[in-house]
Amino acid sequence: MIEVAALTKRYGEFTAVRSLSFTVAPGEVLGLVGPNGAGKTTTLRALAGIITPSAGRIAIGGHDLATAPERAKRLLAFIPDEPQLFEYLTVEEHLRFMARLYGAEGAEPRIPELLGELELSDKRGALPAELSRGMKQKLAIACGLVHAPQALILDEPLTGLDPAGIRRMKATITARARAGAAVLLSSHLLHLVEELCTRLLVIQRGQLVAIGTIADIISGRPQLAGQGLEDIFLALTGDGERAP
């Protein structure tokens, strides 16, 4: 569903992402992890069509993001870590707006369902300024889900959510993957990645360090056997020496 081949993004002389290739199949949850400045957000923004790659190819559902961006984006939902909302639209109007924008078929009954699923029913007439940080995050998630995307890109999706919201969000991600969506999830919360993701993609300084299941990654590095994901991550990214 998500195919990335030799993705490169340069800003002047600085290369943020260097020849990154991976795929995310339908039903799969791929965890994107890496230290600060590794190029995670650049990668996600390129996949969402927000920034144009300097080189490489991205395809969503077989549609090339460079040559058929509208078709590719229609299958996609990008949920950033900082909710981007229109301050002058109410909660329900946000969902109606996104449904029309993405040409979502049969969205009318899905809107109340989503509001209920994300505990926003009571806030359907509220403006974003009247919502808490967690509520805004839930609204951003609902906006991403209203057109039933086949590819879901999430950047730190649990930021600002309370424990109940975190549990609900994890269930939502799992449910979308079970329904056949390809999910790419970036997070620093390694226990979340370990719990939700079927595979891991570790990047550092814009380059791929490791990809596969935890077992796959360990099999190539016997010295990591028996260690937790945090230790594996620190060892892979070379931050282990700095760890206490």
């Binding site: 920034i51 950033p80 301050e87 002058y88 639209l89 707006f97 924008l101 993405y102 969205a107 300024a129």
Partner: protein, 583 residues
């Protein structure tokens, strides 16, 4: 306190140095360098040169006398300014604490008095800038050397600032602790109450003289009568003390006048520093509110007040996706249009309408004609930058726009269309008013309709031409937002400072030139059509209608390609470049 103050002095010094470095670094970027140059030239030509630079030319001759009425008016303005500090504004300290101040300084072992001193020092920069402007504007009008005038103005503006802070402290204390809070500030409360009572008493005493002066049409006389009462002379003494050195006739009288001025300043300082009000909570709320407003401006482009009203038209869930953006922007305008701003524009229009109304034709139609023409001219000239329901606010959310499954041209078209639709709706509503009122005015003046044979064709032509020019203005404003985001104001937050002044000058001139360039070929096509018409038709006022239609059609074709091109630019624009340009 010495240790604390040492740390705060370090903060002040390093902040000033770093801010200067940042501003100097920004000058490497062409838009800031050019903006600074434009602002400097503007200030030189409009202010310094016109007034004769005070720094270069020195004081005016000893015969330069300030008319007493100006001094009186100046003092009255000061009184009003001081009164506003008590009457308006919420119960918030008039000290601009930032979130960083709240988080880092409030928990630190720093006394309230020291925090107040810090803010007083930080307030000196805008005060000095104000003094510079005053010196420039009043150059040549005073016999005093520039340095002496600067010192008197500094004493005046600093005392006014301290008074505003002191007044806000009293209000904060009253809001927090009620009567007990007021009791804690008994001295200023008693003084202000006594001043109010004395002012009322003086007004009552002088009522006869004031009425006589007003009847004679002498506002200055009325003011002088009011100030002549003993009670008001006492109330106005502090203001007189502050103003006197500014208008002193020579250095010797300036030195004498400065003594009471400095005394008033010292009293204000002592009042504010000794107030000891628990302003932290109110200051924290104010810092949070301002930060939230700034964040809304940057991330969502929202105005400060948003009303959750029912949208003017509903959005169906199926249909062309770009309609969703059009709907969103029109709804944004509906909910964020500031009633106060609309009211002010209306008042300005009415004032102009009233002032242009001849006494002989003081009729409702003439008033409506002036008002509708003012509205049309305002919409064409300023509508595109006033109604910002387009990329002028949405460029701040470029990452979100770029993630939409739409072509760039569709996004740009919908964005431009939204503001154009709002403005054109207003214009098309004003045109019939202008038409009917012109007919009525003409009928009154010429006792018949024969003199307005041109009116119907002119109105019909305007119905095509005015929206056409408006569409070009909106398209150009959006083009500037896409092509040069660092040059224009994005979102509702107004920028201040010399660079912003320069940027506004450059972008206004640039927009005007671009508009004229875009209108030139369609206008040429319209004129070519006129040349093709038979002489009889050419002489008729009706020839304006096909010309306006050709103009509109040519502009429509032009804008079609312009929007497509702008859409391609939008597709290639890197959001991080916009963030960097607007940072």
């Amino acid at each position: 306190m010495t240790g604390n103050w040492g740390a705060l002095r370090y903060l002040l010094a390093r902040s000033a140095v770093n801010r200067a470095h940042v501003q100097l670094r920004r000058l490497k970027r062409p838009q800031y360098a050019l903006a600074m140059l434009a602002a400097a030239l503007y200030l030189y030509w409009i202010v310094l040169r016109r007034a004769g630079s005070p720094l270069a030319s020195g004081p005016a001759g000893a015969d330069a006398v300030i008319p007493a009425v100006y001094v009186m008016a100046f003092e009255t303005l000061l009184v009003l300014s001081a009164a506003l500090a008590w009457l308006f504004g919420g119960a918030e300290p008039a000290l601009a604490f930032t979130r960083a101040d709240v988080q880092l300084l409030f928990p630190a072992p720093v006394s309230r008095a020291t925090l107040v001193r810090l803010k007083l020092v930080q307030a000196q920069l805008p005060i000095l800038f104000t003094i510079l402007l005053w010196l420039a504007l009043s150059a040549g009008s005073s016999p005093l050397p520039v340095a002496l005038r600067a010192v008197s103005l500094w004493s005046l503006f600093t005392a006014l600032y301290l008074h505003r802070v002191g007044a806000s402290f009293v209000k904060v204390s009253a809001a927090q602790r009620g009567v007990a809070g007021l009791r804690r500030h008994a001295v200023p409360v008693v003084l202000v109450t006594a001043a109010l009572a004395a002012a009322g008493w003086g007004l009552w005493q002088a009522r006869g003289t004031i009425v006589a002066a007003m009847t004679a049409g002498s506002a200055a006389g009325a003011l002088a009568a009011l100030r002549s009462t003993p009670a008001l002379r006492v109330v106005l003494w502090p203001f007189h003390a502050l103003v006197a050195p500014v208008f002193a006739a020579d250095p010797a009288s300036w030195a004498v006048a400065m003594v009471p001025s400095v005394l008033v300043l010292a009293l204000c300082y002592a009042w504010v520093v000794a107030a000891g009000v628990g302003f932290e909570e109110a200051a924290m709320q104010r810092a949070d509110r301002l930060a939230a407003q700034r964040a809304r401006g940057r991330t969502a482009g929202a105005a400060l007040t948003i009303r959750s009203s029912r949208p003017w038209f509903p959005l169906r869930l199926t249909g062309r996706p770009w309609v969703a953006i059009l709907w969103k922007n029109v709804t944004a305008f509906q909910r964020t249009a500031a009633p106060r701003r609309i009211f002010l524009v209306g008042i300005a229009g009415m004032a102009i309408a009233a002032s242009t109304m001849p006494r002989a034709a003081a009729t409702l139609p003439f008033f409506l004609l002036s008002l509708s023409l003012f509205g049309l001219v305002w919409s064409v000239l300023f509508g595109a930058v006033a109604v910002r329901a387009d990329l002028q606010q949405d460029m701040l959310q470029l990452p979100l726009l770029r993630s939409f499954p739409l072509r760039g041209a569709e996004i740009v078209g919908a964005e431009v269309g939204a503001s154009t639709a709002v403005l054109v709706t207003v214009e098309l509503a004003l045109l019939p008013v202008a038409f009917l009122s012109t007919r009525a005015v003409a009928a009154t003046m010429s006792r018949g309709h024969s003199g307005v044979a041109w009116l119907l064709p002119a109105t019909l032509a305007s119905a095509f031409a005015v929206p056409t020019v408006t569409a070009v203005r909106v398209a150009v404003a959006n083009a500037w937002a896409v092509l040069l985001p660092g040059w224009v104001r994005l979102g509702p937050e107004r920028q201040a400072g010399i660079e912003a002044l320069g940027q506004n000058l450059v972008s206004t001139a640039g927009s005007l030139i671009t508009t004229l360039l875009l209108l030139a070929p369609p206008a040429a096509a319209a004129l070519a059509l006129r040349l093709l018409l038979p002489p009889a038709a050419r002489a008729s006022a009706w020839s304006a209608v096909p010309m306006a239609v050709v103009l509109a059609a040519a502009v429509a074709i032009e804008l079609f390609f312009f929007v497509r091109w702008l859409g391609r630019v939008l597709e290639r624009t890197d959001p991080s470049a916009v963030e960097a340009a607007t940072a």
